[in-house]
Amino acid sequence: MEDTGIGLWGVPLAIFAGAIRVSTPFIFVSLGESITERSGRINLGLEGTLVFGAMTAYAVAVMTNSPWLGVLAAMASGAVFGLIHGWICKFPKVNDIAIGIAMMQFGLGLAFFLGKSFIQPVAPRLPSIPLGGWSDLPQIQSALNINVLFVIGALLAVALWWAFKNTRIGLILRVVGDSSDAARAMGLNPDTVRLLATAVGGSFAAVGGAYLSLYYPGSWNEGISSGQGLMAVALVIFARWNPIGCFLAALLFGGAGALGPALQSVGVTQGYYLFYAAPYVLTLVILVATSSPTRSLAGAPGALSITK
């Protein structure tokens, strides 16, 4: 008859746990998009890539009984989507924002089509690291049951941040992103760099999708994504193209997403739809607060079409 609930502490704990659980797809998609946008291209099609990656990972995991093979397959499919996007955007007069939306629709349609027969089967899950063993409370144990991909994402964020600043590849990326002419003067081919950057961005986004279908919520169906791919693009701008900023923004978003159910569980039941809108409102408010019509966004790659 013991009361194992934790009352009001449930809310901050849920926000914390939610921040970790729900943010992982956002982390990967925004890191991938930050690479793409640093090179001067915007890829709005990541929502389609994410869902296709989720489907691919689930399908391969079901067929091979290995979740990691699923993740690898997802990365490959994401790279292909990125390559297609990058290749099409190379041509003059092609509107890359519109192509992104088109690729999103294409990716979604293809994912639903091919994924029909995988809605029922159960796939093996990605492993998690139980960091909460020190606590007796099952809630804390569960909250600290951190998925491997989250850890990888965190490390990736730091690595990318360091790489952008200190490595030659980072420099190439930034130069191409700031000015195609300067890049050509340096002997680089901006189209090739952007193509590769978009491919890498796509493969990261697909990993984010793999997390959704192979860990949390851990199932493949047509409602698996609620716009994470598109939100993540907003997060990149909000984070000023800084990978560590992307990581933190993703955490913020994940925490906001967990707010609704957590509040209901402690009795705040009025207007729960409004709480479900919280992540979007938060993103919009922050975007508005940090944008300015006169100065171009600080740190924006010069060649990025949305800032022109």
Binding site: L44, G48, I88, F91, P92, K93, V94, N95, I97, A98, I99, I101, A102, M103, Q105, F106, G107, L108, G109, L110, F112, F113, K116, G227, L230, M231, V233, A234, I237, G271, Y273, L274, Y276, A277, Y280, V281, T283, L284, L287, V288, S291, S292, P293, T294, L297, I306
Partner: protein, 382 residues
């Protein structure tokens, strides 16, 4: 000095086609978008056929079914027209700002909130006021709500520099949450037990069907909206200013054009069309505002607008085409045992190919009007 672009193969033609040359020039200019769009659609269909063949089904059967389901009988045609009706308006919501150079994809939000506003406006009036008054009031309420919603996006873009694509999308998600909140909360009809809705409109208040057809008046409203938009863009100074601003904002500002007012005005107008689509869905189809308002019309409208290259008149045939594709989806599901996502794959393929083919504009010499121009100087003279 006129530089002649004659190629030897064509010079006999231009030498002998005296009076026809201005016509040829006119045809060449107009033919380009039609030819390239048609070519793109054919290329998209070809790619899709390969996909279907790889999956193991017959593309020929599929296209025959698409024709049957979309246009093969009077019933099918009406089916397609019904589905096209909301798309006409939601496509305008994308096409109008696009002429200004803005990419707005949040029309879905304007549709749902427009529907809620229309239903809310009707609540105090049904029963006591005649339908002739109530329906326009609903339409105005829907248009104002939709106009505000997308207009905010335009405002944010001009005055705060917020990217309108992302902002409109965020607003769409917020709008759907608000719709759910209102429909299940303050505006809920207590009698709508298992499907939360606003109070149902009595039958005399419903927007009926076009006489002789099984399609509601929303189709006519949509076509009128497209025509009005085309006139606005092509034949008014407001539209002209917008097209200039769309080409180069900096130049427009230097010229003294009120870019801010243009942006807010066009986005609000675009949003009002989407809000009108929401009102029509409430008044002609559902009879009340409920969660089925979020049926994806806004998102399909994006596709229609881009396929029509943001030309309001072209939106009409494109919306009907897409309505036909959608209409055939059910038949494809039932007869060929293909999933409903087949239609999504086709639409996505067409979308990508059409956008890719933008790059062909200006590349084919045959469409260059100068080729067909009356030469002022003879060949060889400078």
């Amino acid at each position: 000095m006129t530089i002649e672009v004659n190629t030897p193969a064509l010079s006999p033609l231009s030498a002998s086609s005296g009076n026809f040359r201005p016509i040829l020039e006119w045809v060449a200019r107009r033919a380009e978008p039609v030819a390239i769009s048609l070519g793109a659609i054919l290329a998209g269909l070809a790619l899709f056929s390969i996909f279907i063949a790889v999956v193991g089904k017959s593309p020929i059967d599929l296209f025959k079914l698409m024709y049957t389901g979309g246009f093969g009988s009077w019933f099918s045609i009406q089916n397609s027209l019904s589905r096209a009706a909301p798309l006409l308006l939601t496509a305008l919501c994308v096409a109008l700002p696009a002429r200004l150079g803005l990419v707005i994809i949040g029309g879905e939000g304007a549709v749902v909130l427009g529907g809620v506003a229309a239903a809310a406006a009707a609540l105090p009036l049904t029963g006591s006021v005649s339908p002739i008054v109530v329906l326009p009031v609903m339409a105005i309420a829907g248009m104002i709500m939709g106009g505000i919603w997308i207009g905010i996006t335009g405002l944010l873009r001009h005055y705060r520099g917020v990217n309108e694509t992302i902002a409109s999308l965020l607003m769409a998600y917020i709008a759907i949450a608000l719709m759910n909140h209102f429909i299940e909360g303050p505006l809920r009809d207590p009698a709508s037990l298992n499907k939360p809705s606003t109070a149902p409109l009595p039958p005399e208040y419903l927007l009926g069907a076009i006489p002789g057809m099984d399609v509601n008046w929303g189709l006519v409203i949509g076509i009128l909206a497209c025509i009005v938009s085309w006139i606005l863009i092509e034949a008014t100074s407001f539209g002209f200013a917008a097209r200039i601003a769309g080409g180069n904002v900096r130049a427009a500002q230097i010229q003294g054009l009120p870019v801010g007012r243009l942006i807010v005005g066009f986005t609000a107008l675009a949003g009002s069309f989407a809000g009108l689509a929401g009102m029509i869905e409430v008044a002609a189809v559902q009879g009340s505002a409920n969660a089925s308002l979020a049926a994806g019309y806004g998102y399909t409208g994006i596709l229609v607008a881009f396929l029509a290259r943001h030309n309001p008149l072209a939106i009409i045939p494109v919306a009907i085409l897409l309505g036909g594709i959608d209409a055939s989806g059910g038949l494809i599901q039932r007869r060929m045992e293909l999933p409903d996502a087949t239609v999504l794959v086709l639409q996505g393929t067409l979308f990508v190919v059409i956008l890719l083919c933008e790059t062909f504009y200006g590349r084919f010499k045959i469409f260059n009007p100068d080729l067909w121009k009356t030469p002022v100087l003879k060949r060889g003279t400078v």
